[in-house]
């Protein structure tokens, strides 16, 4: 439990830092209103074979438009994701995963997306079937099976932003490989290899963020 408490404090610190970054203004950028990106994805453990779902709200922090020598523009977005996920591993357990962290995404003019994301959070597992407890006096009772754990995840993303070809279509699709470490797990830690396939769009809730324009001459 000490480890979970410590990691929870670290999570709060990360969130606080990203929030502070969001409030910081810069003389090199301009304030622009952006809609709130949200993604819904199939997220399965064991490379996607154990089914699950994930919803992510992205608190955009900064956007940079980089004009390259060939005049093509690359859009870089720094964001603070808030993820709520779930997986079901039949015969083992299911789990709710709440996490947050920091992500960086590059969107090319063609629409091709790459990104990385690091998250830290908490998860609660649920044992399939009844969990029994045997009391000191030998009486058998039932309890809520499963435990709370900490988790840390690192994701690699590739995808396609359809809005680059059609501004009327604010939609992108992505695949994501997400190794997630659950801890402490019986004195060690447990790795999950998550695979995600999802859609991302924007909700009509606007937020002011810093936007930068740079060019490579």
């Amino acid at each position: 439990m000490e480890m979970i408490k410590r990691d929870f404090v670290v999570l709060i610190l990360i969130l606080s830092t990203t929030m502070l970054m969001a409030q910081k203004s810069s003389e090199y950028g301009e304030k622009v209103l952006y809609n709130l990106p949200v993604s819904l994805s199939y997220m399965g453990d064991y490379l996607g074979t154990k089914p699950g779902l994930n919803i992510t709200f992205e608190n955009s922090l900064k956007k940079t438009y980089l004009t390259k020598k060939n005049s093509k523009i690359v859009e870089k977005t720094l964001y603070n994701p808030i993820n709520l996920g779930w997986y079901n591993h039949k015969g083992y357990n299911s789990a709710l995963i709440l996490s947050s962290g920091i992500g960086l995404r590059k969107t090319r003019q063609s629409g091709f997306i790459t990104g990385i994301q690091v998250d830290l959070g908490l998860m609660r597992t649920f044992i399939h079937g009844t969990t029994y407890n045997v009391e000191e006096n030998g009486e058998v009772s039932t309890v809520a099976g499963g435990y709370f754990y900490g988790n840390i995840a690192f994701s690699l993303e590739a995808g396609w932003d359809f809005s680059k070809a059609n501004e009327e279509l604010p939609l992108s699709t992505f695949v994501r490989l997400k190794p997630l470490v659950q801890f402490p797990y019986n004195g060690g830690s447990l790795i999950h290899i998550m695979a995600e396939l999802g859609l991302r769009t924007s909700l009509p809730f606007q937020k002011e963020i810093n936007e930068y324009h740079k060019s490579k001459n």
């Binding site: 064991y46 779902l53 919803i55 709520l84 015969g91 079937g129 029994y132 709370f148 004195g187 790795i191």
Partner: protein, 355 residues
């Protein structure tokens, strides 16, 4: 607060609420399946010593016979046995229990690692199993390798054996502290035989070199290396049927293979616990207290747990008047893997005779 902000907040709450409700609905779909079936698949857990230990009852519960399997290792999990009991499952139900800090067993603490804890856990599993299957079921205890030793120790305590019709000991180690010494003896003996036969596989020279450079095993690292070498050498014996333990179903099946790996690595890092088992524990004195019928099923070429030094010694010491040693002639340490038909026949013969 303006109207846009209020709308935003309401919509966010609705989306989150919908998501959580979906999860709750999907999770609630997992219920205890029918207990009585010719092909049961009942999953439950027993909480003990900070772990939720999964128990899966598979096979023919209509037979009203349940075999509780106590895996070896320590920390091996029940998955190897589960992959090789297709025939046995048609006859009886098998309760596959993953011990504490083993297999798919889950917990968020650093764990308790003592032999006493494992015997305590076994007692709780027996209690829950008999509570869940209380309608005229007959129970057998089956232990493999060090699980055979733990099972024997459990049966010898108090009135524990009253819960069982019989005990099936598969290549079990009641004299756990002698396992490493017996492995050295068996490995050297087998290497001498194979080299004398003209077998040029380099593993036999490696085995001889290891035995000559280790008169005594004093560290966990050497013991692990020795056990691994014994396993590898067994697979090179012509008379032992070919076997594979790991295939794609191991990884992508229902069993959590990563949980097994995690538990295995953290358990095998507990030197004090391993030293307690393999340097201090010997249940030889307790075997005379076991009086229920027992069958010992042994691989004829078991290098890890000697048929002669451990199997025959078990049969000599156990107190039962109804006791048999069955040798699987084409097997090493895993007769249920290498000779599933012969293994099943031996178990069925024993249970039909004693149930």
């Amino acid at each position: 607060m303006n109207i846009t902000n209020q709308k935003t907040k309401v919509m966010k709450t609705q989306i989150l609420g919908l998501f959580i409700l979906t999860i709750i609905f999907l999770s609630s779909c997992s219920k205890d399946e029918a207990l009585i079936s010719s092909d049961a698949n009942d999953l439950f857990a027993v909480r003990s010593n900070g772990n939720d230990m999964l128990v899966k009852v598979v096979g023919n519960t209509e037979s009203k016979v349940i075999i509780l399997f106590v895996h070896g290792g320590p920390g091996e999990g029940s998955w190897i046995f589960e992959k090789n009991i297709e025939q046995l499952k048609t006859h009886y139900a098998i309760a596959l229990w993953d011990q504490g800090n083993s297999g798919s067993t889950q917990g968020n603490n650093s764990g308790v690692f003592t032999v006493e804890r494992y015997l305590d856990d076994l007692g709780k599993v027996v209690k829950v199993l008999k509570t869940r299957y209380d309608d005229g079921f007959k129970f057998y205890l089956m232990g493999h390798s060090c699980g055979g030793g733990f099972s024997a120790a459990y049966l010898a305590e108090a009135n524990n054996q009253d819960d069982f019709q019989g005990f099936i000991n598969i290549d079990g180690a009641h004299k756990l502290k002698s396992v490493k010494d017996y492995q050295l003896i068996e490995l050297k003996k087998r290497a001498d035989i194979e080299i004398a036969k003209g077998n040029t596989d380099p593993i036999w020279q490696e085995a001889l070199d290891f035995c000559e450079s280790h008169n005594e095993i004093t560290t966990i690292a050497d013991f692990s290396a020795l056990s691994l070498l014994c396993g590898d050498a067994t697979a090179k014996i012509d008379s032992v049927n070919l076997f594979t333990l790991i295939d794609p179903t191991t990884f992508f099946g229902n069993y959590s293979f990563f949980s097994y790996l995690s538990n295995w690595s953290s358990l095998w890092a507990k030197e004090d616990y391993l030293k307690e088992i393999f340097w201090e524990t010997d249940y030889s004195d307790k075997l005379s207290q076991i009086t229920i019928p027992t069958v010992a099923i042994w691989g004829g070429f078991d290098v890890n747990c000697s048929k002669q030094l451990m199997g025959e010694d078990y049969i000599n010491l156990v107190g039962s008047s109804d006791k048999t040693l069955v040798i699987c002639e084409h097997s090493g340490h895993y007769p249920f893997v290498t000779e599933p038909v012969e293994f099943t026949n031996a178990v069925v013969f024993f249970i039909e005779r004693t149930k």
